[in-house]
């Protein structure tokens, strides 16, 4: 029975790995902090507790305290639709607007924690800690189409971890992270028609990578200092992924056959052009402190750091078409987020959770663009959990309110304001 249970859990984990729907970044940059529903209900303040298998993401040190085989399978639904752009001079001008496509995205996460000795435990985690998806309505007329009409970055981590009880109060965890990721970018290309100096659309451009892989590691400590206080510290290394893929240009007729012929003669239309790029996903660190205010009431506060200064540029190279090489300066900065979560035990089997956080954007204003219009944000969450004999269910809702981002200094010459708000709903089954 135990073997069958593990096999079914493994099958679920593989299924989760294959379902890697992208979603717009919910944590700052294109990080996704919502990797477990219980933690989501607590505003992500979970580093000092990490007392369920999702702790494999928040603090692998909590793995050392797992007793018995435990597994979780969950999903987070992200409702996208309230994302708007309002233009400003010099381009695209006041009155120009844009809306991102309404959609619902689903993220999956799966965790297994298995003690292997009185002191040692093993854990397997599959989740999606990074991702982005921006898709603008009416791409044929969207004023930002020459920068981006569609952008999607998908990732999934498979992490194998070990936890060890250094003492009965101190757990240490460590492990290896294997990250797979792919990228799709779509935009239009324009040129100045010299016969009348009119800017005309001349091509559709699609860049698509294979699923490529990078390797990293993580480490964590969880210390139950006393009955009413425990703290945790976790670190996940940066991971570089070298992507390879293809770019394809499809010509768009301008209505001027003479100019179209000249453009056709100078561009590699209709070919799959090999391209390469590299993204360095940032290192992250979290420090959390949990206070048992009462037997049924625990407050945790966390501070997180993300080393986004590793994302200083995006270099795209086309080995067979050097004219398509481009280096896009990003100049992101490392940032902090601040979280607080409160959990209240209604009974021995059910729990209410409340949380809030503030997350800084690492993206400078000059890099803010239709490809990824990031902003600092506030999050407010509520959750509920119930445990039966062999199964548990966690539910949570999170509202993310992005600060209005006004771009007055733009790398792409695209000025205006972005406004965004998102709802997330999470559900996780525990076994």
């Amino acid at each position: 029975m135990k073997t069958n249970r593990l096999r079914s859990i493994g099958a679920v984990a593989i299924l989760a790995a294959l379902a890697v729907a992208a979603e717009p970044a919910r944590a700052a940059g294109f990080a996704i902090f919502e990797q477990g529903t219980k933690a989501m209900g607590l505003g992500g303040a979970f580093t000092a507790q990490a007392d369920d298998p999702a702790g494999l993401y928040h603090n692998v040190g909590g793995l050392a305290f797992q007793r018995g085989t435990r597994a979780e399978l969950g999903t987070t639904f992200v409702f996208l639709g309230d994302s708007k752009f309002s233009g400003a001079a010099p381009f695209p001008g006041a009155g120009a607007t844009g809306d991102q496509t309404n959609s619902v995205k689903a993220l999956l996460h799966a965790y297994v924690a298995q003690p292997i000795s009185p002191k040692w435990s093993f854990g397997l985690a599959v989740n999606n800690p990074f991702g982005l998806a921006t898709e603008w309505d009416d791409p044929d007329t969207w004023s930002g189409r020459f920068i981006s009409e569609f952008a999607e970055l998908r990732s999934f981590d498979i992490a194998g971890n070990f936890g060890v009880l250094a003492t009965e109060d101190l757990g240490i965890g460590f492990g290896v992270i294997w990250r797979g990721s792919d990228v799709v970018l779509k935009r239009r290309s324009a040129a100045v028609n010299p016969f009348n100096f009119q800017v005309v659309e001349v091509a559709k451009v699609r860049l698509e990578s294979d699923v490529d892989w990078g390797l990293g590691w993580n480490v964590g400590i969880l210390h139950k200092a006393c009955k009413w206080f425990q703290w945790g510290l976790s670190y996940r290394s940066k991971i570089a992924v070298d992507y390879s893929g293809t770019a394809r240009l499809e010509q768009v007729a301008t209505g001027d056959p003479v100019f179209d012929a000249i453009v056709a003669a100078t561009q590699p239309f209709g070919q799959d052009i090999p391209i390469e790029t590299r993204i360095e996903f940032p290192a992250t660190a979290s420090l959390g402190a949990a206070f048992t205010l009462r037997e049924d009431l625990v407050l945790e506060t966390d501070v997180n750091w993300a080393g986004w200064n590793s994302f200083d540029e995006l270099a795209i190279t086309a080995p067979t078409e050097p004219g398509l090489n481009a280096t896009i300066p990003e100049n992101w900065r490392s940032v902090m987020s601040y979280r607080a979560g409160l959990r209240y035990d209604l009974s021995k089997t059910s729990q209410l959770r409340f949380g809030a956080y503030y997350d800084e954007t690492p993206q400078p204003t000059a890099s803010t663009s239709p490809l990824l219009p990031d902003a600092s944000r506030w999050g407010y969450s509520f959750g509920y959990g119930h445990r039966w004999t062999r199964v548990s269910l966690d539910l949570a809702v999170l509202y993310v309110d992005f600060l209005k981002r006004t771009v007055t200094d733009s790398r792409d010459g695209f000025y205006g304001s972005y406004e965004n708000a998102t709802w997330l709903f999470g559900a996780t089954l525990g076994f």
């Binding site: 001079a89 010099p90 381009f91 695209p92 001008g93 006041a94 120009a96 004023s143 930002g144 189409r145 020459f146 920068i147 935009r187 324009a190 040129a191 100045v192 028609n193 010299p194 016969f195 009348n196 100096f197 009119q198 800017v199 003479v258 100019f259 000249i262 790398r411 792409d412 010459g413 695209f414």
Partner: protein, 464 residues
Amino acid sequence: MIRTTRSIVPALVLALSAATAQAAADLTRYVAVGDTLTAAYTNGGLVDVVQENSFPALLHRQATGSTTFEQPLVSAPGIPHLWTLDSLVPVVINTHDGEATGAPQNLALPRPYDNLAVPGAKAHDVVATTSSPSNPLVGLVLRGLGTQLAQAASLDPTFATIWIGNNDVLPAAVSGVVIDGVTLTTKAVFEPDFRTIVDTLSANGARLAVGTIPDVTLIPYVTTLPRFVVNPQTGEPILGQDGTPVPLVGPDGPLESGDFVLLSASTHLKQGYGLPQGICPIAACPPLTNGDVLSAGEVAAIRARTSELNGVITGLAAAGSFAVVDLNRTMADVAAHGITLGGVDFDAGFLTGGIFGYDGVHLTPFGYATVANEFIAAINRTFGNAIPLVDMTPFMFEGLPDFGGAPDGTVTANFRMSPEAVSALFRAIDVPTDLAGSGGTQRPRKPARVRKLPPTKPTAPWRR
């Protein structure tokens, strides 16, 4: 104690006064003085669809919301007839010589224009020129009512823009001949004229915004043609035995890094000038002439004089607390990095860059709108105005109308710039007539025959 308090109060008042001295500029009565760039001269002429979006017109519109800004408008196809691009490969620019031109549309205005910029004007012309037998555009703008400066002052402006000096250095660049005092105005001549302009226009308290002179060696007229021998079939440089491109031969020998071949050299290049021995198909090809080439030394002289004159401009602006629009820096930025708007790239490239027109010297409507935003930014920065920037969208996505006209014998194929185009350009920017055209040595050549522009129809009643 009382004495100390009394000494502090005036200081505080002075401090407050200083803080409020730069109140917002009032553009209610705005007048512009300048040259082709202020007049919105493009593709060889003036035409209303471009003039209506000259940088002064845009600045006035953005600042006041009013479209009433009087200019010497000209109907299509312009005066002179605007050039057209008849072919890109090969490049064929049609100057439409001899074809019917447009007509002045605002001659009857009973007062000076708000935009008094005269194509071809130098700083001295602003204060001294009332007419010109060789440049009919002077009469189009000034109409015998006095100099640019006199007319501007008569409007009692509350605000004025001054962008002048471009033609004080440009003739050296486009003629390829640097003659101090002839193709390069000296500081000794420029400074008193510019001071007179500034003092006159600000006499009644008008605020001023002054533009610096761009580096005219960065324009496509100078930078487009390579200094190497190019295979006409492939467009690629011909490589020598050492694997490096073979340089063309100029008046002083093989062209070196820092030397430029002007667009006007097209005629000579077609005739085989500048080909080195071994590539020349005949016994010996003549070298490119002094007028075909802008040497590194000439470039340095032009840049030094430009810097000197800009020192005059910025010094007087600082003394008067006027806004400085550093178009010298703007031009350098454009030449180095181009402009990106909405992911669309513009640059200083000839024909395809979108900023410079067919003569490789003057701007497109997009270029003039960019200049307007530079002026707006400087005025807002200096005077605390909140003038909204010009929306560049129509200047990107609405092209110029077709000024086609009938193709005729003046169309020259396979040249980047015909002799007729060069002559017309030189007339527009008032290059000395003995430097117009091609040929000659380092010394001034015999005067070339200058073709006169056809008379406007009907005969302008404003000519006296």
